[in-house]
Symmetry: C2
Subunit: 293 residues, 2 copies
């Protein structure tokens, strides 16, 4: 029987739910990739990974007002629905959910999903309420889409930690999968915010990844001083050369807690955040930790 | 084919999820009744209503530590698993989920579901963190059970308001249904906490319902003074006769917000909370509001 042509996108939650339930009733596995639009090669790599891992792929396009602590950042966030939809159509996505903010959040919306602890450090400390906004919207999206897999990008590593914790704590019936960070040739991690950088800022932006690599190098070959301090110092030295940026943090954390790793932790994460006048950027690099700390 | 005999209860979330999914895949509707055990006729009436409304009924038995603001109240809460299981077996429940607290909440559990506003007034004000504990555990239970219907008792009216708001705000795919309060012959609302009352306290406990009826009477037949104030005064007069209790509140609210009803609100709720030395009791009575306020 010929497959009926259905519209690629909808803003109506119950249409998404009905479609996904029909797929699942027929034994199809469903992967979900939440995005805020402004799609770039990083999103496409994530969608391609999801495509290989599941029978159907649902992508959401939603600039979630709840996760912006800064109204100017929300206003400046790039939006081009037609362009994004064209890209997703080319990426063989099965369904796009693009809710309207004023419908998705009722006027008297009052419920928040809070992941305590993780929401207070690093990105959480620099962007008040950000992770509560992320956890709340992803909970809503998961309830609408009801996927088997939730695909997230490693670039937003603390977001991954928050959502993994949330999924476990709330017994959400979904597997969290993580796609590797996609980088420009000069090492800059793909991000929708890169488009806002001036030419001079763009020229200095690879400093974040360069700093992470310098830090990782020092962890691999520790000298006599505590390796963590040497690594963090090395990151700051590299970042200091990029005169247009100001460092929010550059440090080594446990990727599950985003606090200093305990002595028994074998997998660490170097994380960095820095502000250019036009945009704030983050990046990270997983590292293996030896016993030499 | 003969139906296999399965155990009535389990403490393992994935066993519950698997069983319910098989039912739903066969087109069976599933109702869920969360309880903290210490079952009484009120629970049984709720289960019987759920039984009539769905093909399968799942009941949870779980004294949720997260919703107790008072450690003594948590310790004093009656627990008799064997008795409860016997009652549920007689009530033709299909599956009982009785998680272990130390497994259901991981040691580093960090996620909270907060329903802002409703968690600050009346019961929320008197029991700090209570509704966050309720919202969090019900979210977890709904993710494990994945029912079509969530059945709640009207006796805990503010809990109903909190959970209805949460289900709507988070797009939880479940219909919230409410069962009427079941009362002793003298009007006392059934509650697991009634068992803790002394004989003298038990004798005075019907004052709560008597106060609600007195308040409703004044709303039906308003005089010249504002009916709301007259009704609240009438409730306090009745409660004052019960010498062993102290009133936490006795007032008229909008059942959706638990704040003072606006002039256009047609359905009000009289609510009362009072403390005996041995237990704190609550009750409520829905009322129609005229234009005479």
């Amino acid at each position: 029987m010929a497959r009926r042509v259905r519209p690629l996108w909808t803003s109506v939650p119950r249409q998404v739910r009905a479609r996904v339930r029909r797929w699942r009733a027929r034994g199809k596995s469903v992967a979900f990739v939440p995005t805020m639009g402004a799609l770039h090669a990083g999103h496409l790599a994530l969608i391609a990974r999801a495509r290989r891992a599941a029978d159907r792929v649902v992508v959401s396009l939603f600039v979630n007002p709840l996760q912006f602590d800064n109204v100017n950042d929300l206003k400046a966030y790039p939006r081009d629905f037609t362009r994004d939809l064209g890209i997703l159509s080319g990426a063989k996505v099965d369904l796009v959910f693009a809710p309207r903010a004023d419908v998705f959040y009722a006027k008297d919306h009052a419920t928040r999903v809070v992941v305590e602890g993780l929401d207070r450090v690093l990105e959480g400390a620099h962007r008040k309420g950000h992770f509560t906004g992320v956890a709340t919207v992803v909970t809503k999206l998961l309830h609408v889409v009801e996927p088997d897999q939730l695909w997230l990008g490693q670039k937003d590593a603390q977001q991954v930690a928050v959502l993994k914790r949330m999924v476990r704590d709330l017994d959400l019936p979904v597997a969290v999968r993580v796609g590797a960070t996609v980088r420009e040739k000069d090492g800059l991690a793909m991000s929708s915010r890169n488009a806002r950088l001036s030419a001079d800022e763009r020229a200095q932006a690879p400093a974040l990844y360069a700093a992470l690599r310098a830090g990782a190098q020092r962890l691999l070959h520790p000298g006599r001083a505590p390796a963590v301090h040497v690594a963090e110092l090395a990151m700051h030295v590299v970042l200091a050369r990029a005169k247009l940026l100001r460092v929010d943090y550059a440090t080594l954390v446990d990727p599950r807690t985003f606090s200093a790793p305990g002595r028994d932790v074998r997998r660490g994460l170097l994380v960095v955040a820095a502000r250019f006048p036009s945009a704030r950027l983050i990046d990270n690099l997983p590292v293996r930790l030896g016993g030499a700390r």
